[in-house]
Subunit: 329 residues, 2 copies
DNA sequence: TCCAGAAACTTGAACGATCCAATCCTGCCT
DNA sequence: AGGCAGGATTGGATCGTTCAAGTTTCTGGA
């Protein structure tokens, strides 16, 4: 069987010292071109790969990034995370990092997992998806100087940390504007209970756009937990109470429910959802689309910046969503 | 700042040698009860966690399992992988392993990634999702004695390896039987082109069930690539050519298309999909449901069996799907 | 009481890379 | 000839753990 290839094997093969091989790998510029070439040839010929465990032991860095995979809640919005994770894996890969998964049922257990991952695997950084007011997780990480990025802005601006987010208000504003342009005036909004950063933001986009167009939003707004059944219920309510001709929703789940409630109305009530999930594509629902691949890439950018010793805190990134037009609006 | 807690710190604190601490962790039975207790107390008091990199260096095992996250193809079926991954992470966690993600655009690049992951991270095992005839990946891994499991049976039984799968034929059979019980006789099937193991299997369940009930399946069968538009097209064709009263589909995407094609028919044509994706739940589509969490758990079981030196090849696992009843059948 | 043998524990070495400091070439410039 | 600098070598130490071999302590039986 083939003997294990270490840095010593390469050194022998290229007739240089271990140190020089190490230099070729970690500080190529201090090695003469000719020597470097010889070493690189040896590396390729032998199929050498630096042993990460040994490297990590000396340097204390694992080139591992942790991301949480959620317990498949709704299943519809789960696909957002799914797409984000894929993008993350791809970009991290290109930057020389790998993504490690973890799960946790609640914040406390999640924080306990941080400790575990940091202690046993010496993770380099965390990517948190979704943030809320007074998030204990970001606080814990920040207290310990653990590098991390959040996909989702910090809603209470106590302590700044690197983040990437998609401008939800701009998304609902875009949706609302499209409906206005199509001649609608009674445009409703179905969203989540006030107090969630994301939800408030998305509602504001709708609200402010109507005001800017001199349309009164009073009575055209409903709140509920996320879910298809909820969306349907509230839409029926709206139809009776406010007779809207169009509705913007805070999620595709809600929009899907709304869609069921307006089936058969004449003229058809326009519906726009949020997140552009596969479900939306399937049923032809117009929806606000988040640039998830881009978001993941920017997360990795921010992280590598911090990890490569860039001490000035990087500017946050706010990406613009687009409208995926289908036949419901 | 707090000094790093190593096995030596614990040893000093518990007044024993490093090796004894190591024994408490890896072979508790050879340490006297009293001593063990003292060491465990010290571990808890200091918050010690074994450094994985150092351990790996000595033992050559990383306690890392790799799984591939796919490039979000259809997006609908992507959620199957998503749920599987979540289950995998959870069960692996319980067994002391963690899941590392990777991506690859094609088989060749995927195999190259295997080499990289094995070389630099010394991964313990791979979990492959989906298998096909003559899969080069399983061959590569088997040739090198790399432990792996597949979620999906090996369709050409050349070389046996541990696998877990869901009995697709049983799923479509169950769906077909339900339709028969409901009085249907002209039950169609929309599936994938012959030659894919999974597709052939699912078709066989429908086909054999009809034969067993003395119903002639001739002319009631169509094949196509996966997709909503495709499903709709073929269903329209079937309606004209064969006048079915019900249809079983090889995927939810196809079923969703079929559903659009039969909208408005009287009496309504029953439709059953496959995979019980969120989309199916959303639109009320009856669908065959795979026990993905269970499948993931069994994958981990098989792997830990192999990794813990169990040399006899473990028996494959074939799980039974169930029918998620909704209002389309 | 003594000894064999097991049980319990301890001590050096090794895993593969990086870091560090001292040293040695070799060629170039003054 | 002497000084200098870039490039490469050398040897040793280090990271935290486990392995292999060694030493001490305990136990029971003659």
């Amino acid at each position: 069987m083939p003997e294990k290839v270490t840095i010593a094997t390469v050194a022998r093969h290229a007739r240089v010292s271990r140190q020089t091989v190490s230099n070729v790998l970690n500080a190529p510029h201090i090695v003469r071109q000719e020597t470097r070439q010889r070493v690189e040839d040896a590396i390729n010929a032998l199929g050498y790969r630096a042993n990460q465990a040994a490297r990590q032991m000396r340097t204390g860095r694992s080139r591992l990034i942790a991301a949480r995979i959620e317990p498949t809640r709704d299943g519809i919005n789960g696909s957002v995370l799914d797409r984000f994770l894929h993008g993350l894996t791809e970009t991290a890969d290109a930057a020389g990092y790998r993504v490690l998964l973890y799960t946790a049922p609640d914040d406390d257990r999640e924080i306990a997992t941080y400790g575990d991952l940091l202690g046993t695997y010496e993770l380099d950084a965390f990517v948190l998806v979704g943030t809320k007011y007074g998030d204990p997780r970001t606080e814990w990480l920040a207290d310990r100087d653990v590098p991390f990025v959040t996909f989702g802005r910090p809603w209470d601006a106590l302590d700044a940390h690197p983040w990437v987010d998609v401008d939800g208000a701009a998304g609902t504003a875009q949706a609302t504007r499209r409906l206005l342009d199509a001649g609608h005036r009674r445009i409703a909004f179905i969203g989540w209970p006030a107090g969630s950063g994301v939800g408030d933001d998305r509602r504001a986009g709708w609200h402010d756009t109507l005001l800017a167009a001199d349309v009164d939003p009073t009575g055209l707004h409903r709140e509920t937990e996320d879910g298809i059944a909820e969306g349907e219920r509230l839409m029926r309510d709206l139809l009776v109470a406010a007779a809207p001709t169009a509705v913007v929703c805070a999620s595709d789940s809600l929009a899907l429910g709304a869609l069921q409630a307006v089936r058969g109305t004449e003229p058809p009530v326009s519906v726009i959802g949020f997140d552009d999930t596969p479900v939306a594509a399937a049923v032809g629902l117009t929806s606000v689309s988040q640039p998830l691949g881009e978001a993941a890439a920017r997360c990795v950018d921010l992280l590598t910046g911090v990890l490569d010793g860039n001490h000035e805190s990087p500017p946050p990134v706010l990406l613009q969503p687009s409208l995926a037009l289908r036949h419901t609006a």
